[in-house]
Structures are given as structure tokens and as C-alpha cells.
């Protein structure tokens, strides 16, 4: 991409598991700044866990993660928050926070010492709400929103954090066809500011359409990483998911269309 692109995230041989077993075993990859990366893998392969390792919520048992060249273990959580924003899949809120108040919380890493939000903070909040089409909901309670609206509010909240790295977990789960595409387009727009985005999703075709690179997590390892054409092939998909697919080209886009499950791959 850009000539001055640098390494945003370097995952160096990390090992991690809950309760002694290894969920991730020697995961290794690097992501350059300004890239949109899709992370796919079967249920339980550890996509969410990997995201939580990349933002420092979990600590790897072995190996190191470097965020913008710095050892993640040595960064304080507020320093991480000024670099990296997260968009969670699910989120509940029962305390009557309005949409605007919730989006404004994204400014917290930058306005810790101040009691009221500044004009600049507020400008960013309004801009983000407009961008994700939730400005008309600004005074509504978050808990009253549909899940699609809620998802867009969370994306707006991540945007006001002005992140250089964004980790998004299953952004399209609750979105209808149009918003799915719109959200991906907004995320693509953010790349022009040299933001690095990692999206974990089950939607192969959506990721193939928008991502610069796709990586597949399976059996505790990154089994493939590359352009969508390189990674989403009948062979790799069959190996990882145990499903026969036809990969179809439509101009620049590729689509994986499932045909049948493989009986012999029941215990993939």
C-alpha cells in the first residue's frame, strides 16, 4: 500500500489456552499499517481470543505481541486505548445512557482528566454519528435500539477514539444486507487515514470483497494468510471447514458458495 507503511501488529509465536490446554499454538503473523485484514475460522477456533490477545486483555503464555513496534506487555492499558479501538459483537446497557453519551465515551482515553467533554470531542462525536447514520437517534436510549442500530453506534464509538488500529469482532452479525456493505465501506474509508483494521467474521464473501488480506485460523494456527484469491480456495476451505465450496469470480470479487459438508471431515 502506502510507501511509508510500517508494521502495526507483529504477533510473534504466541501460545495461549484456557485451563492448561492450548487453544492457540505458535500463532505468527504481521499486519502492516493501512491494511484491512479479515480473520476467519470455524467456531471455537479462537478468533475472539486472538483479538483479545491483540488488545492486551489477555496475555499470551508464550511469545510476544508488538503493537507499533512496542512490546504489548510493556504498554499501559491507557496507552493501548489511545492506539487501538475495539468493536465488540454483543453489548448490553441498561442504564439509560443515550446514544450520544455512549458514543462520547469513546473519547475517554483522551479526556481522562477533564470532567466535561470539550468542543473538539463533541465535534468528533457528531461527525461519527453522522457517518454511521445514527445521528437522528442521538437522544434515544441505547437499550431501545435494534441490534443493527446498536452495532453502528458501537462503530461510531470506536471511530471517535481516533484509533490507529481497530479490532472488530463480527461486525455484520446483526446487520441487514445494505448496512453490512455500508459498514464495510466506512471501515474501508478509515484506511485512508492509515488505520489498520482487523475484522473477525464468519462471512467469507463479505471479507473477500473488502479485505486486502484474509487469514484463516484453524487448529490453533494461522493456516493461510494472503489475498482473498490466495486464501479462499476450495482446497483450503474444505480443509478448514470440511465443506465443499465452489469459488466463483465476478469481476474483482470472489464468492465461495457452499455445496455440501464432507462426511469424512466430521471432526475437523
Amino acid at each position: 500500500m502506502a510507501a511509508e507503511s510500517t508494521v502495526s501488529l507483529l504477533i510473534d509465536g504466541i501460545r495461549f489456552g484456557y485451563n492448561g490446554s492450548d487453544l492457540l499454538n505458535d500463532v505468527q503473523f504481521e499486519i502492516r499499517s493501512g491494511e484491512l485484514i479479515g480473520l476467519i475460522g470455524p467456531n471455537g477456533s479462537g478468533k475472539s481470543t486472538l483479538l483479545r490477545l491483540m488488545n492486551g486483555i489477555l496475555k499470551p503464555r508464550r511469545g510476544t505481541i508488538f503493537m507499533e513496534g512496542q512490546d504489548l506487555n510493556k504498554l499501559k492499558i491507557d496507552e493501548i486505548a489511545r492506539i487501538c479501538a475495539n468493536v465488540p459483537t454483543e453489548f448490553n446497557e441498561d442504564f439509560n445512557l443515550s446514544v450520544q453519551e455512549l458514543v462520547a465515551l469513546g473519547r475517554y482515553p483522551f479526556s481522562k482528566g477533564m470532567w466535561w467533554d470539550s468542543r473538539e470531542d463533541e465535534g468528533l462525536v457528531v461527525e461519527a454519528m453522522k457517518k454511521y447514520g445514527v445521528e437522528h437517534l442521538r437522544n434515544r436510549r441505547f437499550s431501545e435500539l435494534s441490534s443493527g442500530e446498536g452495532q453502528r453506534v458501537l462503530l461510531a464509538k470506536a471511530m471517535v477514539q481516533c484509533p490507529r488500529i481497530m479490532l472488530v469482532d463480527e461486525p455484520s452479525a446483526h446487520l441487514d444486507l445494505r448496512y453490512k456493505l455500508e459498514v464495510m465501506e466506512h471501515l474501508r474509508d478509515m484506511l485512508s487515514g492509515n488505520v489498520t483494521i482487523v475484522i473477525a467474521s464468519h462471512d467469507l464473501n463479505l471479507l473477500a470483497k473488502y479485505c486486502d488480506k484474509v487469514m484463516i485460523l484453524s487448529r490453533g494456527k494461522i493456516v493461510a494468510m494472503g489475498t482473498p484469491e490466495e486464501v479462499i480456495t476450495p482446497e483450503i476451505v474444505a480443509d478448514v471447514y470440511g465443506v465443499d465450496v465452489a469459488v466463483i469470480k465476478d469481476g474483482d470479487n470472489i464468492f465461495a458458495i457452499p455445496r455440501r459438508t464432507r462426511r469424512d471431515k466430521d471432526d475437523r
Binding site: 453489548f91 441498561d94 442504564f95 439509560n96 462520547a104 482515553p109
Partner: protein
């Protein structure tokens, strides 16, 4: 035209306006209720006379010697200072506890803190346990220790059973019942005279409050509430849940430990001198939330003025409903609070089943 102007106002300006409005109206009604509270009671004093006496008392730093009216008003003033302190303390405790536990159904009463305080107080009042150097402050100190101990038991139990919203409510109820059974047994074995005092304490009473006690209630309550108000933004972040709050760079564990400590002390101070007043920490934050929304920068101040108002009104009723007999103020609040809690459970309880 008006509408256009309102729309152009920034979010912060709107919030400030809302805050000023709530504080203005709240302080005005508080002043009116204070007047009523000082004028009415076992003996009614006309309002203009009350004002005159009040002025004298303030100018002379106390009631005139041998002036019975001024002594009555003076004691009512002391009482109302304590009531405002407790009203603020329990309401702010409720707000902050609800944010920390992420459950709008908890308050000092539900989480067993008040029961702990009651056990401490009953022990000191009835079992004759007294700490020599503390003398007259034995009961409040015992209540205070009981409050903090009970809260920590509830919190540990809730964390151990999964740390979900409902675990906190259940743990609080269980701890509350267990502690109350001890209190009951102590009461059964006690002498009649001490019993009356204990019962009054158990339902909350401001009857025998001294000026020192009133000050020892309101001063720490104000200081601790203002400290919590300083952390209003952090409390907003905590609403997002532990992991999400950490994503925003808040050291959740440290912040929660610290604020839980402050809240326990705040609750302990609030119940130490005048006993248990249940449900106030539930009604007030919830009503304030409906009034100003969930932002703690508005919610804490709103809860403070609302709490002071509500408890003061309850006290006026407690004193004049069956005068000259006085009802326990805690019973009056609970009569309103219990149905309110039931309403909350029915309306929103399903959301906290997890």
C-alpha cells in the same frame, strides 16, 4: 424559534443547563420542605415565627437560653441536617453500587450492607459490647464495621458464584437474611428497655440525634459524595462492562476496588447514627435516572438533591401522620420502596436473569 435555539446548543451546554435546572428546583423544594419540617411536628409553629427564630439561631450560633420555641426549632434543624446527610449518602451509595455491579436493582439494603450495620449496632446496643475508648460512639462504629464486613461478604459470594448481576442480588439477600437471624436472636435475649432503642434503630430514627452526630453524618457524606462525583466519567465507562472499560484504558480492577471501599464507608456513615432506611438507595437513583438519564455527571448531583428531598418529606410524614406519636422513618420509605422494587422486578427483572 425556541426549538431551533435548543437544537444548536452543544451537548455539554445542554447537560449543564439540565444540571442547573435540577439543582435549582431541587434546592428550592429542599428549602420549602426544610421550612415545613421546622414548623410542623408535635408542636406547630407558624411559618413567619419559624423564620424569625431560625434567623436568631443562625445569628447566635444556637438557640437562645430559655426560649422553648427556639430549642424546638434548633432540635428540628439538627435533625434535618442529619436527614439530608443520610438522604444524600444512601442515594449516592445506591447510584454508585448500581454502576459498579452493573445492576439497577441493587442498593445498600438489597446488598446486605444495612443488615450488617444493624447487626453491629444491635450487638453494641443490646449485647452490651462496648469499646471503652469509643464510649457513645460505640454503636455507630459497630454499625460501620458491620456494614463494611457485610458488603465484602456479599461481594465475595457474588464473585465466587459467577459475578453476574443476579448473583449480587441473590448473595445480598442471602447475606441479609443470615445476618438478620443473628440480630433477631440477640433481640430475643435482650431486656425490654434496650429493645425499644434497638427497634428504633432497625427501622431508622432521627429522634435522638445530637448536633455532633448530625455533623459527623453530613460532613463525611458530602466529602465522599463529591469524591465520587469527581469520578463520574469513570463510572460512565464502568457501565460498559469490565472488558469494554479496559479497552477504553480504565484500570477497572483498581477503580472498582477503590470505589467499593468509598461506597462502603459512605453507607456505613449514612446508617451509623440513625439506623436502617431501606430502599432509598433504590428509589432515588432510579427516579433520578428517569429524570436526567444515565450520565453520572448529572445523575449523582440529581440523586443527591432528590435523596435529600425524599427523606425530608418522609420525615415530615413520619412526624405528623399520627402525632404526637412518631413513626419510624425507615418504615415509611419501605412502604413506598417495596412496591417500587416489585415494580422494577416485574418491568425489568427479566433482563437480569442471566
Amino acid at each position: 424559534m425556541e426549538e431551533v435555539v435548543v437544537k444548536e446548543r452543544s451537548m455539554v451546554d445542554q447537560a449543564k443547563l439540565k444540571l442547573a435546572l435540577v439543582m435549582g428546583v431541587g434546592l428550592l423544594t429542599l428549602f420549602i420542605f426544610l421550612m415545613i419540617s421546622w414548623a410542623l411536628g408535635a408542636v406547630d409553629i407558624p411559618f413567619y415565627e419559624t423564620l424569625g427564630h431560625m434567623w436568631n439561631i443562625i445569628v447566635n450560633f444556637g438557640p437562645e437560653h430559655g426560649n422553648p420555641m427556639e430549642h424546638i426549632i434548633w432540635s428540628r434543624m439538627i435533625r434535618s441536617v442529619a436527614i439530608i446527610g443520610v438522604g444524600i449518602g444512601l442515594s449516592v451509595s445506591g447510584v454508585v453500587m448500581q454502576a459498579l455491579i452493573r445492576n439497577p436493582l441493587v442498593d445498600p439494603y438489597v446488598t446486605g450492607i444495612s443488615s450488617g450495620a444493624a447487626l453491629g449496632a444491635t450487638l453494641s446496643l443490646l449485647a452490651g459490647i462496648s469499646i471503652v475508648s469509643l464510649a457513645e460512639f460505640t454503636t455507630p462504629v459497630a454499625a460501620f464495621i458491620g456494614a463494611i464486613a457485610a458488603f465484602f461478604v456479599t461481594m465475595s459470594l457474588a464473585e465466587a458464584t459467577g459475578g453476574r448481576s443476579m448473583n449480587y442480588v441473590l448473595s445480598g439477600v442471602i447475606v441479609g437474611i443470615a445476618i438478620s437471624s443473628f440480630t433477631t436472636i440477640i433481640i430475643v435475649f435482650s431486656e425490654d428497655q434496650a429493645l425499644h432503642g434497638a427497634l428504633f434503630w432497625l427501622y431508622g430514627s432521627f429522634s435522638y440525634i445530637s448536633s455532633t452526630e448530625a455533623l459527623l453524618t453530613i460532613l463525611p457524606v458530602m466529602v465522599l459524595s463529591l469524591v465520587l462525583l469527581l469520578y463520574a466519567k469513570e463510572l460512565n465507562v464502568v457501565l460498559l462492562g469490565d472488558e469494554h472499560a479496559r479497552h477504553l484504558g480504565l484500570d477497572v480492577k483498581r477503580f472498582k476496588t477503590l470505589s467499593i471501599l468509598i461506597v462502603s464507608v459512605l453507607t456505613g456513615v449514612s446508617v451509623a447514627f440513625c439506623g436502617i432506611i431501606g430502599f432509598l438507595g433504590l428509589i432515588v437513583p432510579h427516579s433520578a435516572r428517569m429524570l436526567v438519564g444515565g450520565d453520572h455527571r448529572l445523575l449523582i448531583p440529581a440523586s443527591m438533591v432528590l435523596g435529600a428531598n425524599v427523606l425530608l418529606v418522609a420525615d415530615i410524614f413520619a412526624r405528623i401522620l399520627f402525632r404526637p406519636m412518631e413513626l419510624p422513618i425507615g418504615a415509611i420509605i419501605s412502604m413506598v420502596g417495596a412496591p417500587f422494587f416489585i415494580y422494577l422486578l416485574i418491568k425489568r427483572g427479566k433482563e437480569y436473569g442471566g
